[in-house]
Amino acid sequence: MTFAMMFFGLLTVVAALGVVFAAKPLNSALSLVATLFLVAVHFAMLGADFVAALQVLIYAGAIMVLVIFVIMLLGLDEASAVSKFKVPRYLAAVFCGVFLGLLVFAVSSEGIFPVGIMDSVAGGASESNPGSPREVGMVLLTEFIFPFQLAALLLLAAIVGAVLLAHEEKRPLGKGRGLSAMQQKNSSEEELREV
């Protein structure tokens, strides 16, 4: 556990807090971009270069752009940190606290769980993480070729579904808080096809 890990870990947690508690959706989104980028940094530090690059490329570069795009498109940057419904937030916090406690205990294997996670992984084989594109690609395109193709199919289905869902029937848009209807439609569809 190096200093860099601690430092970036702390940053990650702060960014994640920003995602959850930022008042404006756009700030949330930017925090999430930062979080994702930092997670990519963690990946790189763990030796998973390829996944790190993909993380930035796919998550930060594509998915989050889409999210921000939608936020901008719909003009949704109203501050609404708290649900209007009185969902008992303290209850949620308690749940999360219990859950986190369980996870921490599980990781530190204090004997609560039937099998401690760390006990079961302690005999790990190696410390060098094979994470280069060649290694990952080799496994991906041999052992996992079928799931790989399935993933391609899934993405195709997602594209078609997204276009279908986002496709606007010939009826007037609501009091568009974003931009003119034509502009939105054109770009949003092209945009969604990207993913």
């Binding site: 270069d49 752009v65 931009l179 502009q183 990207e194």
Partner: protein, 357 residues
């Protein structure tokens, strides 16, 4: 001590590269102004001069313009986050400069028993790294358009995000075939593979490695130009439609940062083209990697020359071709370049299989 020297060298290289890129970008602005003047049959920047020497406008663009920008008022529109407003230009230029970190600009320098690769960071995922950085570049644009609180800016950033994401696809797809030929994502390795000749007389550059790499080059070059958001792909900032697009509300040094980022992108695009298709620092027919420090120097100069060439080429194109319409822009990407890139990939792989017998 050794570690300290290593770290120091990396810092030195980083500073060197960053400076070089920014200087190059600034130079490109000068080229832009002079070339546009040349093309439009006018004189171009010639007002400012030091002791009567305007140095063909260099003084004007490299000294006076920055000074003017720095001294201008930094205007922030009402009702927007000051922090976000300032963040946007940085997020625009930051990934561009970062992506230069993996570009090798010369053969390794050998001093004593220390081998110094002329590359800030040698990553085994170099190509992916550049693409990832390119995908991050969109945030500056988008953020700028959003925080400007201005319809023109918003339109510009919406256009920019769609355009950049779309062309990223073709950018990535076009070079998969080439990368399959190289069998690596490491730029240094890629450049190393481009020494020697092919068919006896052509330099063994990427573009000559397979008959289909010309297609890949064209698709890649066009996509890279679209990524820089410059004419004929300057929809996000088209002056005649959106005032200045996403940086309409920017002034002073922030504006200059956008401007600089754009030109840095030109440099990055050119560098990528050179590294992937035109041999990087390799000199045709001559192997300079064995020449010691002279070789390194020569290689760096060769690389610079090649990059400069493509920068100028982009500027010339920018001033020669009219702007697309928005639907044409996306049509070009999704309905022409993407299929072409895919076909090219198939053809290249077929070629590889044929070569292997």
């Amino acid at each position: 001590m050794e570690e300290l020297i290593d770290v120091g060298l990396v810092v030195l290289k980083a500073a060197l590269v960053m400076g070089a890129v920014l200087k190059l970008a600034a130079l490109v602005t000068w080229v832009e102004r002079k070339a546009s003047a040349l093309i439009q049959n006018r004189v171009g920047a010639n007002r400012a001069a030091i002791l009567g020497f305007d140095l063909a406008g260099i003084v004007n663009t490299l000294i006076c313009d920055p000074v003017k920008a720095l001294t201008k008022e930094d205007f922030v529109p009402k009702g927007v986050s000051q922090f976000m407003h300032s963040l946007a230009p940085f997020m625009g230029i930051f990934p561009v400069i970062l992506s230069f970190a993996v570009i090798p600009f010369g053969p390794p320098l050998v001093i004593g028993d220390r081998i110094i690769p002329l590359q800030v960071a040698q990553l085994n995922i170099g190509v992916l790294y550049v693409l990832a950085m390119g995908s991050l570049a969109v945030y500056g644009t988008v953020l700028a358009g959003w925080v400007s609180n201005n319809k023109f800016s918003l339109l510009g950033s919406l256009r920019a995000s769609a355009q950049m994401i779309s062309y990223e696809i073709t950018l990535g797809l076009s070079i998969i075939g080439v990368l399959a030929l190289y069998q690596t994502l490491d730029f240094a390795e890629i450049v190393n593979q481009q020494s020697g000749t092919v068919l006896g007389f052509l330099p063994n550059w990427g573009i000559f490695m397979s008959p289909f790499n010309v297609i890949a080059f064209i698709v890649f070059f066009v996509s890279a130009m679209a990524e820089t958001k410059r004419a004929p792909f300057d929809l996000p900032e088209s002056e005649s439609e959106l005032v200045a697009g996403y940086f309409t509300e920017y002034s002073g040094m922030k504006f200059l940062l956008f401007w600089l980022g754009e030109f840095a992108e030109i440099v990055v695009a050119s560098a990528l083209v050179v590294v992937l298709f035109f041999g990087g620092w390799q000199l045709p027919w001559v192997d300079i990697s064995e020449w010691g420090w002279q070789g390194s120097l020569l290689g760096t100069m060769v690389f610079g020359a090649k990059v400069s060439f493509f920068c100028v080429l982009q500027v010339v194109i920018r001033w020669s071709v009219p702007r697309f319409r928005y639907d044409q822009l996306l049509d070009l990407c999704w309905k022409k370049m993407l299929p072409i890139a895919l076909v090219n990939l198939v053809l290249t792989v077929a070629f590889m299989l044929w070569m292997d017998g």
